[in-house]
């Protein structure tokens, strides 16, 4: 039985309900709804999923099942500057793993984690399609190409 109380600000609830309404409260539009919510909140906490469940009239377990299926969706907030290292094949054979290791070392965090001050978070992704620039690192919207482990410090410096 449900004992959890979900607490959200009214405008957040209204926003989510509004998103559901734009998609006609149609459960088939779940993924589009989740995209909109993640864009707005930066991540998809349990509370948001509960409201979506209410809006689309579908079990929250199913929503969680979808959120955990797709790697694009996250339930943890990203850092102010999310860092993604492409580990697609082209980047991998051109040394992306070493770049990733360097980021881990410099930031002291693992993939999927954020720094304590929530400034940086680290994730890996598969192919952004800029294979000519391999290895590729994304910080927020900015793309860094042909990154070598030695460049990592300088990249981070830009955000200090």
């Amino acid at each position: 039985m449900s004992h959890i109380k979900i607490e959200l600000r009214k405008e957040d609830v209204d926003f989510i309900k509004g998103v559901c309404a734009t998609f006609n409260n149609d459960p088939q539009e779940l993924i589009n709804v989740l995209h909109s919510c993640q864009e707005h909140f930066g991540y998809l906490p349990a509370e948001v999923q509960e409201v979506v469940s209410d809006g689309l009239n579908m079990p929250v377990a199913k929503i969680y099942g979808v959120v955990t299926f797709y790697s694009f969706f996250t339930m943890t907030p990203k850092g102010k500057h999310p860092i993604s290292i492409c580990l697609g094949t082209a980047c991998y054979v051109r040394g992306a793993e070493k770049v990733l290791e360097e980021f881990k070392k410099e930031l002291g965090i693992q993939v999927g984690e954020s720094t304590k001050d929530n400034k940086f978070s680290l994730s890996s992704l598969r192919c952004v399609g800029a294979c000519g620039l391999a290895p590729v690192v994304l910080v927020g919207d900015k793309t860094y190409g042909r990154v070598a482990p030695d460049d990592v410090k300088n990249i981070l410096k830009e955000y200090e």
């Binding site: 449900s2 607490e7 600000r9 349990a46 469940s53 079990p59 377990a61 969680y64 099942g65 299926f69």
Partner: protein, 592 residues
């Protein structure tokens, strides 16, 4: 009907178009092994995600092996189910599955009834290569009032997910995560207790492994039995007697009422009573409520809620509290037989034998897992002392009997104790879909018309259809009855009630497919719906053998009202035998 000719293992067969290879093979006596496939034929329930890949076979013209459970027969198909290629594939896949499964079979509660264990044995697996470095997916254990989830043992057959979502429409669990960490869990992988779970236990009843099991209350019962200060009273639900024998190798549908009574006595229970007695009592209260609402309704009283819904089934109660809280004054306010029994045992009967209710322990033997949750509800206790202390399932009882080395098959039949052991045939049929409403009709008819019921059996109310309806002639008043078993079917009727379109005067709902005989606490049916049908037949047989078959004729019921309760629906009856429901729908709170 169009038929298809094909060859399976060099044997030709004609099957109707649309038949799967798996079923066609079965017709030929070829039992293809499978772990995820499951069908309850008569209830239209089928699980075939084609995920375990154990049932694969070679099919002519196909590059890869085909899952027979979900591959339809085609004309001229040549199927081979046991070539070296198939056997090697099956064994290797089985090794994969076992490599991601705990190896604690010896102490697993499913040991002996585990389909995975059986399959390992059947395929002759003697070794799990690479086990020394193979990662095993592990998850947090979760114990709710009724169900234990140990997902380390989940093999992703998805049967539970199918039961919870498609059959029951409860939606408490879903496949979550991806790849190696995929499993079936409630939202946010919280405890089941925090989900919309109704504890119907249908997930448990289909789980092939030890991933989903009931909470075992036998140790607590044992502790009560050895405590000399406690008087331990046991009640047994109708569906138990029709299924318990299966755990001891008896054919499905073998009635073991007398042997069960003897075994319970041998286990040391002080009084062995029958929930059927409380079922008769339920009919008195619920039937009275029905007639009251009906007559007010017929007089044009719009406050009289019609249809009335039965309320014996705790899974069903949990369901409408969660999904239809707006309709919570529609179901009958009568408690379930388990709780009526507890309330009477700890008042009327405790007084009678002169003990304090605190010194009495009431144990129920139930085909049900939701009963474990029900007896723990706050409203069913007095000063913290529950009316029913422990509810154990048919399976737990069987295990208890085995532990106590009681040879139940060779026990002599014994009778229930009095006064709470006497019941009519009406109480017996409570255990099957349609039974409660048939019992109610037997009594309501006579009370309403004042005439004697000539034809006791309302066969039009029986059967295994998921949603059934019948009109009973109450001496000129056509009474429209609806019946649903399985919560998904119940939802259909409830939606009609909500929208005001329901044509029924009374609706019986049981959460489990087949009713209590198919309950979550029953011996596992392993996808054989014949077993469930045999149990139903057994209950109708017991009913037929009873000298009294209408609840209001039960002499001990009559005596109970005379001595204690006054009359059905009296203030005292209301206090002890009726309840109220709660809105349990999740609320979204606005942060201030």
């Amino acid at each position: 009907m169009e038929t298809i000719k094909l060859t399976i293992d060099n044997k030709e067969i004609d099957v109707p178009k649309g038949t799967t290879i798996y079923k066609a093979a079965k017709e030929l006596g070829i039992d293809i092994p499978t772990l995820c496939y499951m069908e309850l034929h008569d209830m239209g329930i089928e699980n075939k995600p084609a995920g375990c890949r154990i049932c694969v076979a070679e099919v002519s013209g196909r590059r890869t092996l085909a899952p027979t459970c979900s591959t339809k027969c085609e004309p001229g198909m040549v199927v081979k189910t046991h070539t070296p290629r198939v056997l090697n594939a099956r064994r290797t896949v089985m090794e994969f599955i076992l490599s991601d499964h705990p190896k604690d079979c010896l102490v697993c509660s499913k040991s002996g009834t585990c389909e995975l264990q059986d399959m390992a044995h059947r395929l002759g697996i003697r070794d799990i290569p690479g086990a020394e470095y193979a990662a095993v997916s592990t998850y947090r254990m979760d114990t709710s009032p009724s169900i234990i989830r140990n997902l380390d043992k989940c093999i992703m057959c998805r049967r539970c997910e199918m039961m919870c979502n498609e059959v029951q429409t409860v939606g408490a669990i879903s496949a979550v995560n991806r790849g190696f960490m995929a499993t079936v869990a409630p939202a946010f992988e919280q405890n089941l207790e925090h989900s919309t779970c109704t504890y119907c236990g249908q997930c448990v009843s289909v789980c092939p492994t030890g991933a989903l099991t009931e909470v075992n209350h036998v140790p607590q019962v044992l502790r009560a039995l050895v405590d000399p200060t406690k008087t331990v009273v046991v009640q047994t639900a109708p569906a138990v007697r029709a299924a318990l024998g299966e755990e001891f190798g008896l054919a499905p549908g073998t009635l073991v009422t007398g042997k069960m009574t003897a075994a319970l006595r041998a286990l040391g229970f002080d009084y062995v009573f029958d929930t059927d007695f409380a079922a008769d009592l339920t009919i008195m209260e619920e039937g009275t409520e029905l007639l009251d609402r009906l007559s007010r309704h017929l007089k044009g009283d719009t406050t009289a809620k019609i249809p009335i819904l039965t309320s014996c089934c705790p899974g069903w109660v949990n369901f409408f509290e969660e999904y239809f809280p707006d309709l919570k004054d529609v179901p009958s306010s009568a408690k379930s037989p388990q709780q009526m029994f507890g309330a009477i045992a700890k008042s009327y009967f405790a007084d009678k034998i002169g003990i304090n209710r605190k010194d009495m322990v009431v144990v129920s033997i139930m085909p049900c897992l939701a009963k474990k949750y029900e007896c723990q509800r706050d409203e069913f206790s007095v000063d913290g002392n529950p009316d029913v202390d422990f509810s154990i399932s048919t399976r737990e009882l069987a295990s208890f009997i085995k532990q106590a080395n009681i040879d139940i098959k060779n026990l002599h039949d014994e009778e229930f104790d009095n006064p709470l052991g006497e019941s009519t045939g009406a109480g017996v049929i409570f255990g099957t879909t349609g039974g409660v409403i048939e019992a109610a009709c037997r009594t309501a008819y006579e009370l309403y018309t004042g005439k004697k019921l000539e034809r006791i059996e309302f066969t039009e109310l029986r059967g295994m259809g998921g949603v059934r309806s019948a009109t009973i002639d109450f001496d000129g008043l056509p009474l429209n009855i609806g019946i649903a078993h399985g919560l998904g079917n119940a939802r259909k009727l409830l939606d009609e009630v909500r929208s005001g379109k329901s044509q029924f005067h009374a609706i019986e709902v049981m959460a489990c497919p087949g009713g209590c005989i198919g309950g979550g606490g029953q011996p596992l049916h392993h996808g054989n719906s014949e077993i469930i049908k045999a149990r139903a037949a057994a209950l109708y047989t017991e009913d037929r053998k009873k000298p009294l078959r209408k609840s209001h004729e039960n002499p001990f019921i009559i005596k109970l009202y005379d001595e204690f309760l006054d009359k059905p629906g009296s203030e005292k009856a209301h206090h002890l035998l009726h309840t109220h429901y709660f809105d349990k729908k999740k609320k979204i709170m606005i942060k201030k």
